[in-house]
């Protein structure tokens, strides 16, 4: 790229190939990042972005290819080695320890010592505060990480890398868990880092973000580099086509809904968390037959507890839940299910499946005790088998047979097993909790279509998702949940405004500390930005 007379790029990855049994995760990938550059790595889930970064960070050994830092070839053997060479990584799932303090998390592995045994906690604290100020935020080194918001946790992750004097910073899907407002703030931090000469690799599959933040964009598809673009020369459509390989329709056909009477009514519901805090504080809403109601909100605002109270996994401490006119507040999980409540859980391996059980046993997990699957307490294996064969065919579950353990299936097919079990015709209400998390595009499309089909058949659907895009795509109405309360209930697209909902998710509609409440994206962008700059002067 650069001429022979100029300095070599800060980082070059040349011809990186990484094979796993049956797949080539990376195929001859070239990537170079200059000092002071924000370089976006764009690609779908499973395109090979994370593998490439694991190679860079010493978590995976490449089969072919080489890595050069400032033009010098290097061998990166493990994370400690990568850190020592100035590479810092902010993982998609934060690598923070919730019960430890900010300072302890930052120190870990790069301890500032008073002597050969004990930590120098005072010096560490001083350096952390100083570092935070340099990049525009004031952080309390003694705060416990579990008490911080996701946005602040991400800043701790960034500080962790900077404390180790990282000059190359990799951020893997950093905005996936952030509200639009938090995203803007993090972007400001990234720009400041770049201005100081840090190289930043920004991994994402969100087109508009990449266009906004990156100096250069490299697109990966199926393990190969398919193009490098400057933001000024490209647009969302162009990038989408590069990323997916065909012209894509960015939204599914939702059609119009014909809602009728309410089938799920929640009134003034109050629920406590495991730690005894009231995390659902007087929530009320109604889902009507034939509509999809979405609950938007940053993870951890009481959605999990709300869903558990509706499905019967958790007792509520106040309020009522009605299912098709009947008060089910005190009912057991089984009673609710038998009266037409279906539920696709957010954590499919924890709640949805018994991975060691066969596919057929998982398909009858909620109705094994009824005819025709059982007579008395004796199981009817033939009927279970027949049912399983039918469902496997109907939902196109890719499995060698009904008799293999569900744990051997791919994530998408595991989710299909759950969908096949839960999406039954006689449902009155279907609760979908993060139904597409971690799935490939094909599976997402399949599940979205199923959801809309079920809605059109007259079921009321409650969709909970941390992905605002998914909510906007599917929902007829959207409720925003903030700190255990429903702070707004708006109509879905085309009425819904993404920025408005994002702001509600982040602040609950109250005046944010950083600046005035705003409606338009332009103003939202500037408000926190100024505050960041203000903090450093």
């Amino acid at each position: 790229m650069s001429g022979p007379e100029s300095a070599p790029p800060r980082l070059q990855m040349r011809g990186i190939t990484k094979r796993y049994p049956g797949v080539i995760a990376n195929n001859k990938i070239d990537l170079d990042v200059k000092a002071g550059e924000i370089h976006a790595l764009l690609g779908e889930n499973g395109a090979g972005k994370t593998t490439l970064m694991n190679v860079l960070f010493g978590l995976a050994r490449p089969d072919e290819g080489e890595i050069l830092l400032d033009g010098e070839p290097v061998q990166i053997t493990d994370p400690a080695d990568a850190i020592a060479r100035g590479i810092g990584m902010v993982h998609q799932h934060f690598m923070l320890i919730p019960v430890l303090t900010v300072a302890e998390n930052i120190l870990l592995g790069a301890e500032t010592m008073a002597n050969s045994i004990f930590l120098d906690r005072r010096e560490a604290r001083r350096r952390i505060i100083e570092l935070g100020k340099r990049f525009g935020f004031e952080i309390d080194p003694d705060a416990r990480v579990e008490n911080l918001s996701v946005g602040w946790q991400q800043r701790v992750e960034i500080l962790k890398a900077l404390y180790r004097q990282a000059s190359i910073l990799v951020l893997d899907e950093p905005t996936a868990v952030l509200t639009p407002q938090e995203t803007v703030e993090v972007f400001a931090v990234l720009r400041r880092l770049a201005a100081e000469g840090h190289s930043i690799i920004f991994i994402s599959h969100k087109l508009y973000e990449v266009l906004e933040i990156a100096d250069r964009i490299t697109v990966i598809r199926r393990g190969e580099v398919v193009g490098t673009r400057l933001p000024s020369e490209t647009n969302e459509d162009d990038l989408a086509e590069l990323m997916v390989g065909r012209e894509v329709q960015l939204a599914v056909e939702r059609g119009t809904s014909n809602p009728s009477e309410p089938v799920l009514t929640v009134e003034d519901l109050r629920v406590r968390s495991d730690r005894g805090q009231e995390v659902v504080r007087g929530v009320s809403f109604a889902v009507r037959a034939g509509e999809i109601l979405g609950i938007a909100g940053v993870a951890g605002n009481g959605q999990d507890e709300l869903v558990e109270a509706i499905t019967g996994l958790r007792r509520s401490i106040g309020g009522t839940v009605h299912l098709a006119g009947q008060n089910i507040t005190a009912w057991s999980v089984r009673e609710r299910r038998e009266h037409g409540l279906g539920y696709v859980p957010g954590d499919r391996q924890k709640y949805g499946l018994v991975l060691g059980f066969t596919v057929s046993d998982n398909l009858v997990l909620t109705r094994y005790y009824n005819r025709p699957f059982a007579r008395g307490i004796q199981r009817a294996d033939a009927a279970i088998e027949e049912w399983a064969r039918g469902k496997i065919k109907e939902f196109d579950i890719r499995t060698p047979s009904w008799a293999v353990p569900a744990g051997t299936l791919s994530g998408g097919n595991q989710q299909k097993v759950i969908v096949a079990r839960e999406f039954t015709p006689d449902l009155k209400v279907l609760v979908l909790d993060q139904p597409t998390r971690g799935l490939d595009v094909g599976s997402i499309e399949f599940i979205h279509k199923q959801a809309i089909g079920t809605r059109d058949a007259g079921t009321g659907i409650l969709l909970i998702s941390a992905e605002l895009d998914e909510i906007l795509e599917l929902c007829d109405r959207i409720a925003v949940m903030y700190r255990g309360e429903i702070v707004a209930l708006v109509d879905g697209r085309p009425t819904a405004n993404k920025e408005e909902i994002g702001l509600l998710m982040a602040t609950g509609g109250r005046v944010p500390a950083e600046g005035p409440p705003t409606d338009t994206s332009g103003q939202v962008e500037t408000a926190p930005d100024t505050s960041v700059r203000g903090g450093t002067s």
Binding site: T311, L313, S332, V333, R334, R337, Y343, P345, K350, Y351, G352, L353, V354, L355, G356, F357, T358, D361, L365, T366, Y368, Y369, A374, I377, Q378, R379, A403, P405, G407
Partner: protein, 372 residues
């Protein structure tokens, strides 16, 4: 083993090889026993002598075979007491205490029905043992379900407590005069006596019936499905509308009932309850269950194997002067090899993949409150 074994041949390979390796390791100890024991001589053939007398003692004649079956009878039951628990994700190492309480209750009931006809007295006394054992299992099950206290610690503590309580009761209240040691009155007609000149008794039938019964329960009924679902994934069981807490209590009580029956059989065979009643069948049950992969069929065979060792050991001690305690050592080493399945596979270059099983599911609930 959560789904049923695909082939029993591949499934028994690792346990069988573990036994083989354990016997090899024990050989070293047996040779050492020759050197440091009374004989004070190095005899490399001593293990062969010992294992030969072990075999002869266990299978050499009708009496040996009968002794093997009699020894295996309670082991099947304590094996089930541990194995069925493992299926529900519970590690019941309290079979010892459940055996003691079951035996004690059987002795008390037995003295009450001592004059009733045999076919009434024996089942009634056994029922007493079953219920008492179930109670001893219920307690840790309840504590686990509602407080999260892990059954491994509570059952061990209960083992000690039950021993103290029962021996105290026998010494202070139920002791009958006329004997040099503290014991309860005789159970009369409730006693289990041998058939046709052998030591084989009615209790064996009960134990042999329990094996297919628990197989049916675990694999052919909805209750068994729930037990296995709770064991494999308690949160998913809860989500599916099952009741993990209820199942834990039920399963632990069932385990206790098996162990209680084992205790009843041992005590009714003896005819009374002695204040100092030491028995290894509770702990042997752990070996039986793990060796049998917590499967009723596996438990049957490993109980017979361990029973044969127990039955043959006295002859081995007489002929080869190897203390019977070597059986305990062999058990431990078998278990180490079982746990280190990887090593066994490497030694014998096995290709088959290990099946995910109970050996990896117990610790999950350690220190956690149970859901549901």
């Amino acid at each position: 083993m959560i789904s049923r074994p695909r082939s029993y041949a591949g499934w028994v390979l690792v346990p069988a090889l573990s036994i083989l390796l354990a016997l090899l390791v024990a050989s070293v100890l047996i040779i050492a026993s020759g050197v440091i024991g009374r004989q004070r001589e190095l005899d490399l053939l001593l293990p062969l002598v010992a294992y030969r007398s072990l075999l002869v003692g266990a299978f050499g004649n009708l009496r040996g075979i009968a002794n093997t079956i009699v020894a295996a009878t309670p082991l099947m039951l304590t094996g089930l007491a541990v194995g069925v628990g493992l299926k529900a994700g519970l590690f019941n190492i309290g079979a010892t205490g459940q055996v003691l309480l079951g035996g004690f209750a059987a002795a008390l009931v037995g003295t009450q029905v001592a004059d009733a006809p045999l076919f009434i007295a024996v089942p009634v006394a056994m029922l007493g043992g079953i219920l008492a054992g179930a109670l001893a299992g219920f307690i840790p099950g309840f504590l686990k379900a509602f407080t999260g206290a892990h059954e491994v610690v509570t059952t061990i503590m209960l083992n000690a407590l039950i021993q103290l309580i029962v021996s105290g009761l026998v010494n202070d209240i139920f002791r009958v005069p006329g004997f040099s040691f503290a014991r309860t009155a005789t159970v009369g007609n409730a006693a289990l006596t041998g058939f046709g000149g052998t030591t084989i008794h009615l209790g064996a039938i009960f134990a042999f019936v329990c094996i297919p019964l628990s197989y049916w329960l675990l694999w052919r009924t909805t209750v068994g499905f729930e037990i296995r679902a709770v064991g494999a994934n308690p949160t998913a069981a809860l989500y599916a509308g099952m009741h993990p807490r209820r199942m834990m209590i039920l399963t632990m009580s069932l385990c206790g009932a098996f162990a209680g029956l084992a205790g009843a059989i041992e005590i009714l065979r003896l005819g009374y309850y002695p204040a100092v009643f030491g028995t290894s069948i509770g702990f042997d049950g752990i070996t039986v269950a793990l060796l049998g992969r917590a499967d009723p069929v596996g438990i049957l065979f490993s109980a017979l194997l361990l029973g044969a060792m127990r039955a043959g050991a006295p002859l081995m001690q007489i002929e080869a002067r190897v203390p019977v305690e070597i059986i305990d050592v062999i058990q431990g080493v078998i278990l180490i090899f079982l746990a280190a399945e990887i090593v066994v596979r490497r030694i014998f270059r096995l290709r088959t993949t290990p099946e995910a099983g109970e050996l990896q599911t117990i610790t999950r609930t350690y220190g956690e409150k149970v859901v549901g």
